[in-house]
Structures are given as C-alpha cells and as structure tokens.
Symmetry: C2
Subunit: 238 residues, 2 copies
C-alpha cells in the first residue's frame, strides 16, 4: 500500500536533488524543482498505485527504487511499457492516461501537482529543454523495447533487459554482479512472455555460463557475450 509521509526538510529533497543532477539537470534547476510543493510517498512493489484510465494531473519523480508503467490487452494480460529509475519522472498529461503505475521494488516517489509543475516549466526554458531531452530518451528506449518484443527470441529479450538494467541503474561493469530488481513475472511482463519461460531462459543463461545466480543476485560471468546474444547496443540510452 501507499504510505504518505510528512515531509521533513532533512529528507524530502536532498537525495532526489542528487539524482536529478546525475540525470543531467543543473544544480540550480534541481533546486527549483525540489522546492516545488510536493510530498514524498513510499510505494510498495506489485501493489496498485495508480490505475489505468484515471486523470494524470500530477508530476512524479523517482527518488529511489523503480516504477513501471503498465497496460493490459483486453483479456487482462499485463504488459509493462516503461520503467522509471531514480532521477526519472512521470510527467502530467491532459485527461486520463491509459496506463497504470506500479513499483517494481519499494520506491520513494516525489509527487507534485501539475498546476505547480507546469508554470515552472513554462517559466524556465532550461527546464523545458531538460524535460524535452528526457522524453526523447524514454522515447528511444521505447523504440528499443519494440525491437526487443517484436524481433528478438526469448533468450535475447531477457539478456537485453539485463544489459539495459545494469546500464540504467549505473552498475559498474567491473563489478561483475547486480542485484536483479525484477521477479520473473515482471521480466515476463516486460519482455512479453510467460514467467514459466523466463525461468527456463534464466536457467539457460546460467547453463551457458553467461551468468550465475544466488537467489535474486545475478553475477555476470561473461558480460560481453551476454551483450552479444542480447544484440545490446547501448547507443539508444545516449
């Protein structure tokens, strides 16, 4: 469930500010954004947070954790269509959004009102330019995901997701290990498969010696080969 917390000055903006700066925002702009009236919300994973089809008149910025946008086809099969990492945001839009929002892992999210956010962006061109770039980046990740679900086989899809995740969450490739944030069901919902098959793919990758697993933890025993089978070209992440 969602537990709003009162906002203490020590806690609310400080770490989000860092994330925004890491995402390429200039410090003084990050300050303006963080100073916006808002609250920090704890979001529990795999619990309803925002349902599809309701008005999306708020801005959200991920402070920690990972959020997902999801949709489902007519018959309730779920597809995750986008991920948001710390420093990423979900911008308001007119009317209802057809996607819902859930957390992948326990996350801290700053939530503000569209009516506070929009004037800020209109007033500061640098801010608008920053979000423009952010949107383009998410866009091009979306295109890559389409290639992934449309054209790659199940092994490549999972390998690609792992490569992308490592890259986006800033894992140092010299560390050969990463705490995989996803359940197998979530990997299935991202890559358009069943969790049963995802399980088999993980087992395969391990058998092939590309990864080792210890519970949720994944150790990359052959980075370059993993990226090769994934067809992973990090260019689309800029």
């Amino acid at each position: 469930m969602t537990t709003p917390r009162t906002r203490s000055p020590a806690d609310a903006g400080v770490s989000l500010r860092e994330k925004l700066i890491a995402a390429g925002l200039e410090p003084w702009l990050a300050d303006r954004l963080v100073a916006m009236p808002s609250k920090i919300v704890q979001v529990e994973p795999r619990r309803p947070f925002r349902e599809p089809g309701v008005a999306r008149d708020e801005v959200m910025f991920v402070r920690s954790g990972i959020l997902s946008k999801f949709k489902s086809d007519g018959s309730g099969r779920r597809q995750i269509v986008a991920l948001r990492y710390p420093g990423d945001g979900i911008l308001p839009r007119e009317g209802a959004a057809e996607y819902g929002i859930q957390a992948i892992v326990r996350s801290e999210v700053m939530v503000g009102k569209a009516e506070d956010f929009e004037p800020l962006v209109e007033e500061i061109p640098e801010l608008s330019r920053f979000f423009w770039k952010l949107v383009q980046r998410h866009n091009s990740i979306g295109y890559e995901w389409l290639v992934n679900t449309g054209r790659r086989d199940s092994t490549a899809r999972v390998a690609h997701l792992l490569s992308e995740t490592a890259e986006r969450s800033g894992i140092d490739v010299r560390h050969e290990s990463m705490l995989n944030p996803f359940t197998q069901q979530q990997v299935a919902d991202i890559t358009g498969q069943t969790s049963v098959n995802v399980n088999r793919v993980f087992a395969d990758l391990e058998r092939q010696g590309l990864i080792k697993r210890q519970g949720r933890e994944i150790i990359f025993t052959d980075w370059s080969e993993l990226r090769r089978v994934a067809g992973f070209q990090p260019g689309y992440l800029r």
Copy 2:
C-alpha cells in the same frame, strides 16, 4: 529514390497547412510553421530515405502519404517502431538517431533545418505546447504497440493495426472500405511477425467474415467484431 522539387508557392505549404490544422494546430501557428525555410521532398516507398545512426538535425512534416521509423536487431531483422501520418512530424534531436526512416507509400514530406525550427518553438509557447501534446500522443501509441507485440496473438495484432490505421487515416467507419496502405511485409515489420504468417492471418480474417479483400483494398464486413478480436480501445489515440 528521393527527388527534391523546387518549391512553388501554390504547392508547398497549402495542403500541409490544412493537415496541421486538422491535427489540432491553430491556423496562425500553422502559417508560421509553413513559412519556415524548407523544401518539399517526394519520398518513394520501401527505398532508403534516412539511415539509422546519422545525425537528425532536421524537422520533417508529412504532407501526404505515410512515413515509418524503423530499427533492426543485431541480425538485420527489421522492426517498424512508429508511423507518421499527414500532419504528423518527426522532430530533430541532438546527435544521431538510432532509427531510420522510410516511406510506407509514396509520400510528400516537408523538410526543414533544426536551426530554423528550434528558435520558432522557443519563441512561441503555443507551438511548444502543441508539439508537447503531439509527442505525448505518439508516446501513447508506442505503448499500445508494445502491448500489441508483447501480448496479443498474431490475428489480434493484425486486426489491431487495421483498426488503428483506419482511425488514424480518418476513414469514415460508415465507409466500410479502406485502401490498405501496407504490404504484407510491412504489416509483418510492424506487428513483429513474418510475412508468411501475415498472409495466413489475412486469409483467416477473410474466412471469418471480418473483412473482404480485393487486391490491396480491404472491405470491412464486420467492424465491431474486428475491433473486438483486436482488443482495440481507441482511447489511446485521444
């Protein structure tokens, strides 16, 4: 091939202006856009137009026809990741775009320079708001495509594409017919299948009595049932 043409006043902007207005742009803004230094280019279908991985420092607006953005996985399997109809645009971005551009059918495209376009948008907030909405719309179409390739079976995917195409190209549903703009290979490239299977799906749809075919022309004999099997909810198009 690409044949640039000299721009005659009678021809260059007039019909594009209408398309932009139809897309929701106010007339005076459409005028400003059309007045931009630019040329009108004829683009032949299924021929290289813009290759992936090169700088994309131009704006393009579709005046007639349909453009596609495509990518390919490592091994050359092509995936179409977005379509652009008359009134739609492809905006410039910093650096290289990882997608290429090809026409689906013979198209007329207005091409301008990013350096002429960007100041215009920065200067006129209404224009920037218009493009913001356009981008959000394309975004939400992208999400729906992810659901399509990730979660629907081959029949539903094709039915969905047909429904979306009719809607986006403004076919009146009372006309029960549409000139299908796509080759079966293109449908395959959009929906993530092989052309062989697309052929079988078309035959199936016809056998089920949802469509009739005369060459490229498709007659919709049961609109509502087609949309039902597609799981088509037009909300995402706004």
